[in-house]
Amino acid sequence: MAEPLIRMQNIRKSYGRVQALEDANFHVNEQEIVGLLGDNGAGKSTLIKVLSGAVPLTSGDIFIRGKKVSLRSTSDAIAHGIETIYQDSALVTQLSIARNLFLGREPIKPPRFLNRMDQDAMNNVARDLLKQVGISKNIPPTTPIGSLSGGERQAVAIARAMHFDSDLIILDEPTNNLGVAETQGVLSFVRSARDSGHSCIFIAHNIHHVFQVVDRIVVMRRGKVVADDIDPKKTSVAEVERIITGMSDKEIRDAIADGKPSH
């Protein structure tokens, strides 16, 4: 089998005496949407924080396309093509859409020593990107993020990750507090991201949202990955819920194998 895009191997993370991750193994293939599920405290946030460079791991290895990497900071992770989108927190509400898209990578107009942003170029790219993710509806790229809805903000963050060619886009609770139509919008942005060659990790409390969009479901419990090959087309929501809340390993294996309740 081809080397996956991301492979995390025997990841351990402890906060003092609390063991948040215990030998967790996790991978994401190229152009795949993985749903990461687990109860509160199962370790999915910690796993994502390790992968996005936000917290250092205690031990274990991370490989990108087979090459071992060390992710010491969020900008490290971004440089390696891993972009994490937390609800709201990834954008600066006071800045315009275009300025957010290019934050940290603003194009400069010559002469360079004047350090002047090429705002026309930024606005043009932003306008195209907004159209691509489907929120063109007359929102000028100079609009501050603060006056956009939650779904539109997610779209801007996803558009940014797509534009800067992140290989992996991690979405942490992207559908929280969104209305029905907006949620569908975000799910379609995620699909279009995959279709244009990106991989995604999708974390959401709402299992139904996860089922609508992902190719594969991974479940974590007590710091470990307990199931990493659940096909949402062959498994029921109720099944996955049972895995999350705790079945024995044998029960899980049986459930995935025959798609029926194990007892």
């Binding site: 969020t74 900008s75 971004i78 440089a79 994490t84 927190s89 990834a90 954008l91 600066v92 509400t93 006071q94 800045l95 300025r99 290019f102 934050l103 940290g104 990578r105 603003e106 400069i108 004047l114 350090n115 002047r116 942003m117 705002q119 007359n138 929102i139 000028p140 609009t143 501050p144 603060g146 006056s147």
Partner: protein, 328 residues
């Protein structure tokens, strides 16, 4: 949104409120006393206005990045004391003393920035501490007495910084041009340059900015240095113009400067700042101080008006902000 008329867009700008207030203020004072707009009064008001203004310009950028600096008033007093002490003791020329004062100020800004960004102590506490250290040093080295300053006459440094000449009936100091140059340069940095985008992001959402690879700490430290250096420059300019170097001068300026900046529309919480607004805020407060004396209100009542203006402008800005957030 794009088809809003020009007037609607002007009204929606954060600078619009301060602009109206300034026009009203000038009209009211002028109607009470026509001397208010006399060349002599305008020249006098401008001379000191630009000195405080230099500090306010730098403070605008610092506050946009989400921090502020209470030590500027003490540096305003300390830097000229240092310059004159070096000069009077025969250790250095006036020019070298000036450069030394700016370097010491830059170092103080660096320490402020380091405490705030590396030790994660709120800038309120760090710069309050620095205010006391700097003011205390100024008082200690001078025994609390003003320094001798008479020998500045004719020095090229004094000519460049505060040389004066007449344009028609107006007496203009060189410092006015330094202020205009600084306003244009910093306005450009804030609105046009990449650094300006980083400053706003550092104040608006530092973790998002950091995640995009923006050196938030570097930006803030740089702005603390700028703030200290500008306060130092303003203090030296004021000292050369008035031929005085009093270790107590600049007391309370920090609050007046912060008031100028917030009245102009810069958010105290960071993320949003405007140099044009600050220039208006500077003028609003200085015109108020000058005007109420001219129309015969006791000078001691000054703070009542300033406080009322701050409260009124804050109410206006918060109302505009809410309208803005509602997308209207």
């Amino acid at each position: 949104m794009e088809n809003h008329s020009l007037i609607q867009r002007l009204i929606a700008r954060p600078e619009f409120g301060p602009f109206v207030l300034l026009v009203v203020e000038i009209a009211v004072f002028w109607s009470f006393n026509h001397d208010f707009l006399s060349p002599q009064n305008i020249s006098n008001t401008l001379a000191f206005t630009v000195e405080l203004g230099l500090i306010a310009l730098a403070m605008t950028l610092l506050m946009t990045s989400g921090e502020f600096d209470l030590s500027v008033g003490s540096l305003f007093g300390f830097s000229p004391v240092l310059m004159w002490t070096l000069f009077n003791s025969g250790l250095t020329s006036l020019e070298v003393g000036f450069v030394a004062a700016l370097l010491v100020a830059a170092l103080i800004g660096l320490v402020n920035g380091w405490f705030v960004t590396q030790l994660k102590i709120p800038s309120f506490l760090v710069t309050l501490g620095m205010l006391l250290v700097v003011r205390g040093t100024a008082l200690f080295v001078t025994d609390g007495f003003p320094q001798r300053t008479w020998s500045a006459e004719g020095s090229w440094l004094a000519n460049i910084l505060v040389g004066d000449f007449f344009i028609g009936p107006f007496r203009i100091y060189m410092s006015l041009f330094w202020f205009i140059a600084a306003a244009i340069a910093l306005g450009y940095v804030l609105t046009q340059s990449r650094t300006g985008n980083w400053i706003q992001a550092a104040g608006g959402n530092p973790s998002a900015a950091r995640a995009r690879g923006v050196n938030v700490s570097g930006v803030k430290i740089g702005l603390f240095v700028l703030s200290s250096v500008m306060a130092s420059l303003a203090g030296v300019i004021s000292s050369l113009r008035t031929s005085a170097a009093n270790p107590n001068s600049g007391t309370g300026y920090e609050l007046e400067v912060i008031a100028m900046v917030v009245i102009g529309g810069t958010a105290l919480t960071g993320g949003r700042g405007t140099i044009i607004g600050t220039v208006l805020g500077i003028l609003i407060l200085r015109v108020m101080r000058n005007g109420i004396v001219l129309i015969g209100v006791p000078g001691l009542a000054y703070n009542i008006f300033i406080g009322a203006i701050i409260l009124g402008m804050m109410a206006l800005h918060s109302w505009l902000e809410r309208r803005h957030q509602a997308g209207t």
